[in-house]
């Protein structure tokens, strides 16, 4: 290879395709002068090369292994317009404050991807390369999806605006609760929790991710009792109510069967788990679109690959993929609750899900401008270890278009489930009212709640019960950026 290196640039074709092994950078997967086209898909990886591997070569290797390359030169490249099909690493920046790690920008031509298929997109970009030996670790941090590609996806079947119109609920976060205990309740007892929570003031209740069809409660039984509860609560309050019936099952045939019963019983929403896979999610999205159903996604399993900063796939990328794939709700963090969630990172996920257009926002981990091409918006769901006493913080961090889910914070109320639901609803409405009146809810929040509790005993009891509960641990997944950095 000495001859090639002397040449200093791209080898002549005859040299380039000589049988043997060659550096990825020399094979054409590194091009510092490359200017991405508007139609290119751009991936930003955090790479941690092995000792002695220079970052440009590592970036080129990622580009190669996630597009056309294999470990050795193949002459059959010459039967293709291979320049076009090669991904191009074009920029490598050291990660601020993290020695040995680099942000690598890689551009992929639109022709590499099948329209409307998350499976194809992910098989390309994360299919092979994450086990590649010259890298110690690899993380997909962000992705710029060209609008031409975005338009090949249907996106959310309902979206935030239409969901609000269907539910006739505006101007405040929606409220939900996951039925607890997660396992063991019979269908009849399970429906009791749903009824009490909805009648007490919640908009939604939810099956947990692992509630499918177990010996203690078969799915049909759950659906029938839950819909009795939903309809009783609608009659008791005059409001539209819903319960996320989890249709996750072992096969698509089973999922369709369960979703059809949910529809027949008049449910406005069905639920799936992330672990069913991208193709199954897209199939259920099409079903939901055909049947005017809100599609709730529980991100079961995501922390196995989203939490560690050096390896895996950032949740902001999963958020982008799920908006394309077409879900209406997705769990995206609470900031203040029991699960991982740095405020900036979580707001970045929320912006990806909710905005028409994302600006570059390094502080929130958004490396690219993203035009969503009119794709509907996904309602983020905040769930896990939150309670009424945090209402001002939740509204401050998460805004209005979010489902706040208080599971333990509803069902664990000392006076019962309906009282827990009422406490949450009163706290929420009081906080929104105060915010709209121009009050400083961040600082006055506890006082606003205390005032609201004067006309609502359940809220007073909730505040007394959980007043000191916080989950104050350092976050693992925080954006790395230099505050003065300018937009790329």
């Amino acid at each position: 290879m000495g001859k090639l290196e002397q040449a200093g640039g791209r080898p002549e074709a005859r040299e380039r395709y000589r049988a043997g092994v060659m550096k990825y950078a020399q094979m054409g997967y590194w091009d510092a002068g490359y200017v991405p086209k508007d139609t290119d898909l751009i991936a930003l990886f955090r790479i941690t090369p092995q000792e002695g591997v220079d970052p440009e070569e590592a970036a080129a290797a990622v580009a190669g292994e996630s597009s056309t390359a294999t470990w050795t030169v193949v002459w059959t490249d010459r039967l293709t317009a291979c320049e076009r099909y090669r991904a191009k690493a074009y920029r490598v920046d050291p990660v601020p404050g993290a020695a040995g790690q680099y942000f690598a920008y890689i551009a992929y031509d639109l022709a590499l991807f099948e329209p409307g298929s998350i499976a194809n997109l992910t098989a390309s970009i994360i299919g092979n390369v994450f086990g590649f030996k010259p890298l110690k670790a690899l993380r997909l941090e962000d992705m710029r999806l060209p609008v031409a590609y975005v338009k090949t996806f249907d996106g959310p079947p309902t979206g935030i605006v239409v969901e609000r119109e269907r539910l006739d609920k505006f101007g405040r976060p929606l409220l939900g609760a996951t039925v607890k205990p997660k396992l063991g309740l019979s269908g009849k007892n399970y429906g009791r929790v749903v009824y009490e929570a909805l009648k007490g003031g919640l908009d939604f209740t939810k099956d947990d991710e692992n509630i499918n069809s177990q010996p203690f409660m078969h799915w049909r039984d759950r659906f029938l009792y839950c819909m009795e509860a939903v309809n009783r609560a609608q009659a008791a309050t005059g409001e539209v109510k819903g319960t996320y019936l989890n249709v996750t099952a072992g096969t698509m045939e089973d999922m369709y069967e369960r979703a059809e019963l949910a529809k027949e019983l008049g449910s406005c929403v069905v639920m799936i788990d992330l672990v069913i896979g991208y193709t199954a999610i897209q199939s259920m999205s099409k079903w939901a679109r055909r049947n005017d159903m809100i599609l709730h996604l529980h991100r079961a399993g995501h922390s196995t690959y989203t939490r560690q900063k050096t390896h895996g796939v950032s949740f902001r990328v999963i958020s982008k993929w799920m908006r394309l794939a077409g879900v209406d709700h997705i769990h995206a963090g609470t900031v203040v609750g029991k699960l991982e969630g740095d405020p900036n990172s979580v707001q970045g996920f929320y912006n990806v899900l909710r905005e028409d257009h994302n600006a570059v926002d390094l502080q929130r981990g958004l490396f690219f401008e993203q035009d969503w091409g009119g794709l509907r918006k996904v309602m983020p769901v905040a769930s896990g270890g939150i309670h009424a006493g945090q209402m001002h913080q939740l509204l401050h961090y998460l805004g209005e278009d979010v489902v706040l889910q208080f599971g333990g914070g509803t069902i664990g109320h000392p006076m019962g489930i309906a009282a827990g639901a009422t406490a949450n609803r009163v706290a929420l409405e009081a906080m929104v009212l105060a915010r709209n009146e121009g009050r400083d809810i961040w600082n006055e929040g506890p006082r606003i709640l205390e005032q609201a509790a004067r006309h609502c005993t359940p809220l007073k009891q909730a505040l007394d019960t959980w007043k000191d509960v916080t989950f104050d641990y350092a976050s693992t997944d925080t954006p790395d950026f230099v505050p003065t950095a300018t937009a790329a």
């Binding site: 605006v161 505006f170 101007g171 405040r172 009659a235 008791a236 019983l265 009119g374 409405e429 009212l433």
Partner: protein
Amino acid sequence: MRITQGTFSFLPDLTDAQIRAQIEYCLGRGWAVSVEYTDDPHPRNAYWEMYGMPMFDLKDAAGVMAEVDACRKTFPDHYVKVNAFDATLGWESLRLSFIVNRPKKEPGFGLLREEGAGRTQRYSVRAYATERPEGERYT
């Protein structure tokens, strides 16, 4: 019972000063406020009667309050709500919607069931008040 549609139904009925503060919030964001009323509060009744057009060009909370008052005076035993419409691209729907008047007595809703195969039920919610003709309910 108390129908809990609308943004603030779990709070004590809003005072005029509170209603006005919410209207000011909406006007400050450039939203068009409108007033609607009904005596059919079924949760799926999407079309309450419009008390005039949305006030696209009215930027004065006092003016909006006058409309709210006029509607409440004309229909003291109806449900009256204030809506705020945001015409921004990508939203083009309501941003806020809250009840500002309700009948003194709210009899609520009955739940009708029709038995189906396999223990399924077809449910129907019906307001007791709507068994009487429009305009004669809640009186």
